[in-house]
Point group: C2
Chain length 333, copies 2
């Protein structure tokens, strides 16, 4: 019986933020976007799992899966069907149409857990976001990705005045080293000052990235990348490459866009809307640590390229936004 | 906006082990025993929640609940519907018809997470037990109990050679102090020697009891209490009172049963069957710390009495087993 290789730290290849609207039907209360989620699961498998050519069976052996529980693993050849290895990665997802209604109605981010309606909203929010986490873990497991749900609330993550205070990255690191895929999510957590708060998935990604130091981070969103104005504006221009330094960022590509535009990269943990502002601030914060960030549309072929890390070396025909630290040769072309 | 009273530690009144077969149909794959679970939720509310007479609304605001999401909390009087306070308690549940099949088929308790079929079993087990946890939390929330799921795996609990090694009771304590009901469960966890293992709910209860020092512990089971032989044996006699000291136990009531019968109280963490042996060993271990343990049949009126702690002062007409430390006046009558 082999012990896990605790002494050999496997580097984390990628941390992925799966936007809430990329896994759910954002306007339909607690509804999974099954086809988009399934596409993402398949892309994760293609990008990270190193396996034999043969069909891998599901790891979801629960009711409602296609698994025939009675005959799943043949007793006489228990190891024959599984042959997998993968480059370590971590997924953090948002809430989409899960959790937002409850958090808003219960005023969870305003705290005051001693108020019973806030407490009710807190309980209801957690029920909703953990249900989504469960569905996402199952979707990954069906693609033979060894996904395990890790609720930040359960793992002891908490805030202080809505800013991340207590975290538990070492535990995530242990799970990665054990060959598992930790799947975290934006969550309702305790707050040491105001009682409770919302901890956004974007903040969790930044924290994990700073500690686990992945080769790159991918934000899977419902738009093709970062624009110079709201993407709904018909004049909006996709920013292909952005360089970040000292809390400012420069648009490198397209070059005709105003250079030197300053964007605050301070963390807006209280942005519970999942809006672009928090996302960009967190992405810039990650990039300023030297970890490139790719922002791309979920489910597209560009998403698959991003998950593979290909745009880091060549962005020909790639549609998305690369955010990276200023100063590298790559950026200053 | 009031901060939670972090400085005033509220004593934990009770820790409850909800047996897997008390919440699920043990012989039907992944099936909740809805009526028994609902009865237990109502009993928990009656035993611990101190509230006004008026109907409390549900805290389950998710799809499939009876909650009308659009009109749930009236904006003009957000606090009017909730008025609750409760004596702090903690629930730990078993797996029943969730998790056991997957853990057994995937040989999770034999470890070796590097084997892909064990890893698949590990992932499948966690999917199944977290689904049960989710359903139990929702059932409690529907009774306006502020329940929050805490998976031991996510919270960083782990084993070493199948024995509890790393735990996270301080986090459970924080949740209790925040006025929430933590709901933990038997789980598949990492094992620092063999890769992975099953951490039974009974072991978790013992660990929590030793640290949180509740006034009493209740084991809700599918039989009326502890017997001198398997309850299926028609000559089986219900043991009403047992005194524990120095790893041995004495049957106090009924007095005609052999005194001085010795039972090992060492912890059998590898007993994944949820059998009586682990349960009794853990109960004896808790009792020997001076914390009385009540073993009682789930859903019965005796269960409600046990949850209220009434059998600690009077056991007239009560059917169940009291296990407590030897030497007290109460025991030596």
């Amino acid at each position: 019986m082999a012990a896990p290789d605790n002494n050999i730290l496997r580097p984390v290849r990628c941390i992925i933020k799966l936007g809430g609207s990329s896994a759910t039907e954002k306007d339909k209360f607690e509804t999974i976007n099954e086809s988009l989620l399934s596409t993402t699961a398949k892309q994760l498998k293609e990008a990270f799992v190193i396996s034999s050519d043969k069909q891998q069976p599901t790891m979801d052996w629960s009711r409602g899966s296609n698994c025939d529980q009675a005959s799943f693993l043949p007793e006489d050849s228990p190891t024959s069907e599984f042959q997998l290895d993968f480059n370590p990665f971590v997924v953090v997802h948002g809430a989409g149409s899960y959790g937002h209604f409850q958090a808003s109605k219960g005023r969870v981010n305003r705290g005051d857990l001693a108020e019973d309606y806030v407490k009710a909203g807190f309980v209801a929010t957690r029920i909703s976001v953990t249900k989504l986490n469960h569905e996402i873990v199952r979707a990954f497991a069906r693609e033979c990705i060894p996904a395990v749900g890790v609720s930040p609330f359960s793992a002891g993550w908490s805030t202080r005045n809505r800013m991340l205070d207590r975290e538990n990255t070492p535990h995530v690191q242990r799970l990665v080293q054990a060959g598992l895929l930790p799947v975290l999510h934006g969550d309702a957590v305790l707050d040491s000052v105001q009682g409770c708060a919302i901890l956004s998935g974007d903040v969790i990604v930044r924290q994990l990235a700073q500690t686990l130091k992945p080769s790159y981070v991918v934000f899977l969103t419902n738009v093709p990348g970062v624009y110079d104005r709201p993407p709904s504006d018909q004049n909006a221009v996709l920013l292909k490459e952005i360089a970040v330094a000292d809390g400012t960022w420069k648009i490198i590509d397209p070059p005709e866009i105003e250079r030197g535009m300053k964007v605050q990269t301070t963390v807006a943990a209280h942005d519970t809307t999942g809006g672009m502002e928090t996302k960009i601030a967190e992405a810039a914060s990650i990039a300023s640590c030297g970890i490139p960030v790719l922002v791309v549309e979920t489910g597209s072929r560009h998403a698959l390229e991003a998950l593979k890390g290909s745009p880091l070396t060549s962005r020909e025909d790639w549609v998305g936004t690369l955010i990276r630290q200023a100063g590298s040769e790559e950026l200053e072309h």
